[in-house]
Amino acid sequence: MDADIALILLQDGIVNGAIYALLALSLVLVFAVTRVVLIPQGEFVAFGALTYAALDEGRVPGSVWLLVALGMAAMLAGLAAARRALTAGGVLRLAVECLLVPALVLLAAQALPPRPGVVVEALLTLAIVAPMAPYIYRLAYQPLAEASVLVLLIASVGVHLAMLGLGLVFFGPEGYRATGFSEERYRLGALTIPGQALWIVGTTLALMLALYLFFERTLAGKALRATAVNRLGARLVGIATALSGRIAFLMAGAIGALSGILIAPLTTVSYDSGFLVGLKGFVAAIIGGLVSYPVAALAAVVVGCVESLSSFYASAFKEVIVFTVIIPVLLWRSLRAPAEEE
């Protein structure tokens, strides 16, 4: 192992770590606002990657129909939840959110010419996959909003299994790749930096900055933070906590879809490969205690580097090493802070 190889492994670790950082951030965001451990985040990554790959091949992706179906189901769930206090305005707002948005996306997907270019394909992928998240929140989590973290975790596992099955139905069992934002390769001494890697790290940094500005400078961001700090208090001051939950899920879905678009050119993604990627983001979020954004992002880069180094030294045990990192962190945290029941 010389300096060249160490640099290459470090570069690889940082690029992978940037993807895990995006996932860790969305996991911390969702947990803080809704107390839901979003295990299905990996599925959003896979759906985003597969939708982007389908658009790249010039096909209409199967996820458009999943979006329409989820929208209709969310509409029914919303009507059932508000059945004692239905107003015309409420029903209209629900219809716009759950029926109009998927209809517009479906029209856009059908009307666009095949292979319209990576930027348009990426935007359309975000438009297809991100709205699925608030619909899933309406279907699976909003009725359980006051339940304990354990019940929400069990619901998450159920949602993950359901989305896995739906992924197989709408995308098929095979894997796909796509063209990236950049095919360039830059030489820097011994390193060959692909342009796609720069895009990944750049997007992660830009998103972290955008999230920071959103939470610090905008009213909606502050409302989400208030919901995260004290749910009941936020309701008392007039913040719609269910809306906060849906916004948090929308952001998580968008970040997941974006991660999928970024990794689609690097590796073959199939309907079940999102779970492992999401799990590594979960490791990073755990190291951040599911509350701290900077620690989670840093931990994600560390996880990426640990993975890269262990794939060089002991590739057969790479997964074991990466997931074993959780154990000392959990031990240290539980010894430092006393356990508090909710």
Partner: protein, 385 residues
Amino acid sequence: MRRRYAVLLAAAVAALPALATPAAAQIKIGVTISTTGPAASLGVPQRNSIALLPQEIAGQAIEYIVLDDAADPTRAVANARKLIDESAVDALVGSSTTPASLAMIDVAAEKKVPMISLAASARLIQPMDAQRRWVFKTPQNDSLMADAIAEHMQKAGIKTVGFIGFNDAYGDGWLAEATRAMEERGIKLVAVEKFARADTSVTGQVLKLVAAKPQAVLIAGAGTPAALPQKALRERGYRGQYYQTHGVANMDFIRVGGKDVEGTVLPAGPVLVAAQLPDSNPIKKAALDYVTRYEASNGPGTVATFGAHAFDAALLLQAAIPVALRTARPGTPEFRAALRDALEGANELVLTHGIADMKATDHNGFDRRARVMVTIQNGAWKLLP
């Protein structure tokens, strides 16, 4: 009074299933394959192939009951028990993967039902013992394919090889077979690396491989994830010969690999290049027939070698059932034993993947005629002479 009515009603309802049992003898074949889960790319073509099969053999109606086990050994065993106990099947076909099939062996042997596995490992049928005499398999043994690769390497004068494979049963099995096949021919394995199916990058493993400077690299993966190490090696500038296993023998691998997989050499069943086989090859007719029928109902270019294994299992049964019918009636333990004996007696039976010559100690029956070496040229499979 009411109680008596209730008892009579219950008795009548309990007696209904006895009335519903058909008096006609019908042959039932239970199929448990992985149409969902990580082996779905194997199970879906297999299910599509089962749909092509005839509904009648030698005057008997034949019914295929297809269940999904998602490559989970527990579910495969549960499906096998359900098929045997509830549906009274005469034979089992499945599963698509080795771990699930290994788990099913106990059930097949305990219930004395012949089982035809669609999984690749030779451990399913070797060493032959009291349990394995009920187990047959249609895919070529890994050892046959490993020998083919090693022979090609020997002919090309390759002396040092790097290996990178899945870190699961598939990769481990191939490592064992490849090591054996190469050592027999004096080829050295200079680097061994493993990677997970869902990995986003294999940079560390590829660096180690390139540093060892092997003349060729063998990638032991299955399906589209096996394209990842090859693309990564090409990015690092590795210029040696690439070898893959027969687990990538479908068009999705070429689609995902693109230009990076041109020139790869791999062993495959003859059905993959059916149209390129010489006319004198007896397998060509059976293979082309399968390819045309599969693509007629599933679209052009969709045929996969995995589906052909299921078709071969059905061809084995179609040859064995008339023999078994001479001595026993379907649905009886004697019929299942006779079916097992008939399957074992298959002699020079032409299947889509090869010519099966079953023996008491060899329940696969394939020899060198069941494999061809192919390469990828201009985005298509090309038969190597």
